[in-house]
């Protein structure tokens, strides 16, 4: 079979799969442009008959979205930095050895993230309020997110370190590198991609974190975008079209950034770094 035909065929299949998978995203885009009741119409309309383009400007201004997004960014960057600093070393050690203590460590790490945030928030809130951490609410949220997501990061990054051949590190040590030197010069670069992908996944989760933020951050000036999104929800009224427009503004750039980044990370991986 000719290579070009094969590629075209695969691309075609890929496009169909993507179209199916991305349908909810499309539905979000379309619903934002529909009127409040048109989204409940039977049969469903796949294109809005009377698109309400002005909704984006309205949503952006009425919610001061710039500020919300900035807060999300601050929280996400803080949480990812903290997780990376604490988590990479931990994952490295857990990958390097094979004994009972490693088992215990892994077990503890998994166990510590079992409960959903909605059940963790009450004790964390009580604890934080007693030591005065709620005075700096964004920092408090960063700490809580870090605790929540670190196990995820450690388990994934450990898997990344597992793919780095032990002999390479040992060779570096024989060559006179210190442990720290071998770690930064040899091991870390080789596990780079797994770490980056994990960090990006964590970043996106922290960017959208909701349960901790809404309880701990009371001042609206410090709240992230996920909390702002919920200001369209009322006791009897949900402004679905505004919610979808808000989510469109928030999701699209993050998704675009990820498409660009993951391309370099996942694709560039085998380019000889390993050998």
């Amino acid at each position: 079979m000719n290579e070009q035909i094969r590629n075209r065929l695969l691309l075609g299949v890929a496009l169909v799969l993507a179209a199916i998978y991305l349908f909810p995203l499309y539905w979000m885009y379309v619903t934002a442009l529909k009127t409040g009741s048109a989204m409940f119409a039977t049969p469903p309309k796949f294109l809005p008959s009377d698109p309400q383009w002005s909704i984006y400007a309205h949503v952006w201004e009425s919610r001061n979205m710039g500020r919300y997004l900035w807060n999300s960014l601050v929280i996400a960057v803080g949480a990812v930095s903290l997780i990376a600093v604490l988590g990479v070393g931990c994952a490295y050690v857990l990958a390097r050895y094979r004994n009972v203590w490693v088992d215990v460590g892994l077990f503890l790490i998994l166990m510590l993230q079992v409960l959903p945030a909605s059940l963790m928030i009450t004790p964390i809130f009580v604890g934080f309020s007693q030591i005065g951490l709620l005075e700096t609410p964004r920092f408090a949220v960063v700490l809580a997110i870090a605790a929540k997501s670190m196990p995820f990061f450690v388990v994934l990054v450990r898997a990344a370190f597992m793919s780095v051949p032990m002999e390479l590190e040992e060779a570096a040590l024989v060559d006179g590198n210190s442990r720290i030197g071998a770690f930064f010069n040899i091991v870390l670069p080789l596990a780079r991609n797994g770490i980056l992908v994990s960090a990006i996944l964590i970043f996106m989760q922290a960017f959208g974190e909701f349960v901790y933020s809404k309880s701990m951050i009371q001042a609206v000036e410090l709240q992230p975008a996920s909390v702002g999104l919920n200001t369209f929800m009322g006791p009897n009224t949900n402004e679905w079209n505004n919610i979808m427009a808000y989510a469109t503004i928030y999701v699209t750039p993050v998704l675009a950034a990820f498409v660009l980044l993951q391309r370099r990370i996942v694709a560039g991986l085998t380019s000889g770094a390993l050998k």
Binding site: G36, S37, F40, A41, T42, V126, G132, S215, G234, T237
Partner: protein, 410 residues
């Protein structure tokens, strides 16, 4: 670092305490208010106006989500960080007042020239009352009634000026209006497994001579059987079981349901988006002449007993009450008061609807009040869902609910 920071904070706190004593002019008292109102709703706007008056009281506002009001409030209260004033949903008011978390306002209200209990509808007033004392002030109120599509009535040979009056007429009309080929259901309502389901069902139970403390009465079984008929014959979408009132009424607006049971919060959206002639009728009763009843929704103001400035907090509440006449015109909410006439909006459809809702409000009954209302409500929701999915008969389901409720009431 931590110790130094705390020491610094201590110094700052000391300084700020001693400042008012030293300076000649007293510092502003700060009152914090939590409610679920957003930008276009009363609380934040009234607070802005109040702060402009420069009364020596500065009000700070925080918006919380409907779902989180109670959990946020008790978390804050148990850690000593409760706000001075909060708005809570009326069935949850007793939860706080029975436990002394809210301040008894009876004496302050008696001395007030602005807040007068006799001005309020009995339902909302009952919801802020606990053991004869007033623990809050009704903020606004709402209820439910029957919306119907007049154009569809005409098309199916029904008189658009004679909406169904009794349960039998409602089911009958729904049968005639249901048209699967045109994707039209006769009725839209909500039997969802949350407070909305209870909110929609209790009026039916009350009209039939029952109530939350008498949920297995014969009339209530009949009411639930009628709901079951409506679902079983697909006169309403089976999705009514998992859909709230707002989304259900959305299908009415889009022309996929001919009647809908919901409240006045729907009016603005319906005015804009319903492309047909519609009207509002009182909730149908079991038979002509039967007692009317309806649900009572919306929030109450309350002052936390932990406040350090009860008088100032009450002053803020008095200001809110003094602005009740703006409630409908500016924010589209109905004040819980019988002494305020709702001005004409200049839109005939809306004015006619409001007249019906105001009439219906006279029959509105509070849910409870009982400190464990959520458990009572849950028992009722479970019964509704068990019967409508056909897993239990209406009678058995309601018997079971009555048993659970008896356990709660003690």
């Amino acid at each position: 670092m931590g110790i130094r920071r705390r020491a610094m904070l201590g110094v700052i706190a000391l300084a700020s305490i001693s400042l008012p004593a030293l300076s000649v002019h007293a510092e502003d008292v700060t009152i914090t208010v939590w409610s679920l109102d957003r930008d276009i709703q009363p609380a934040p706007n009234l607070i802005n106006d109040f702060n402009k008056l420069d009364t020596g009281i500065k009000v700070e506002y925080r918006q919380i989500q409907f779902d989180d009001v109670v959990s946020e409030a008790m978390r804050a209260y148990s850690t000593g960080q409760a706000p001075d004033i909060i708005a809570v949903d009326n069935p949850e008011h007793a939860l706080f007042s029975s436990r002394g978390a809210f301040l008894d306002l009876t004496d302050m209200i008696a001395a007030s020239s602005v807040v007068k209990p006799e001005n309020y509808f009995p339902g909302p007033l009952a919801s802020v009352t606990w053991e004869g004392k007033l623990y809050g002030i009704p903020k606004a109120t709402n209820t439910i009634a029957l919306y119907y599509n007049k154009d569809m009535f005409k098309a199916k040979g029904l008189d658009p000026e004679k909406p169904p009056q009794t349960w039998a007429e409602l089911v009958d009309a729904a049968r005639k209006l249901t048209d699967p080929a045109a994707n039209v259901y006769g009725l839209a309502f909500s039997a969802k497994a949350n407070e909305e389901g209870t909110f929609q069902f209790l009026p039916w139970a009350q009209m039939a001579g029952g109530g939350y403390d008498n949920i297995n009465a014969e009339g209530v079984v009949k009411a639930l059987d009628i709901w079951k008929t409506i679902i079983d014959e697909k006169l309403a979408s089976p999705d009514s079981l998992t859909r709230g009132q707002w989304d259900s009424t959305g299908t009415f607006n889009s022309g996929n349901a001919a009647m809908a049971i919901s409240g006045p919060w729907e009016l603005d959206r319906m005015m804009q988006e319903a492309k047909f002639d519609w009207g509002v009728a009182l909730l149908p009763v079991p038979e002509i002449g039967a007692e009317r009843s309806s649900a009572m929704g919306d929030f109450n103001w309350a002052v936390f007993s932990s406040t350090r400035h009860p008088e100032e907090a009450f002053k803020v509440l008095e200001y809110f009450v003094s602005q009740d006449k703006r409630m409908f015109k500016d924010f589209g909410q109905l004040p819980a008061r019988s002494d305020i006439a709702i001005p004409s909006t200049g839109e005939p459809l809306k004015d006619a609807a409001l007249k019906v809702f105001l009439e219906q409000l006279k029959y509105a009954k509070p849910r409870g009040p009982h400190p464990q209302w959520p458990k009572i409500s849950k028992a009722i929701q479970d019964a509704i869902q068990a019967a409508l999915t056909g897993q239990m008969s209406s009678k058995d389901a309601l018997e079971q609910a009555a048993e659970k409720i008896k356990g709660v009431l003690g």
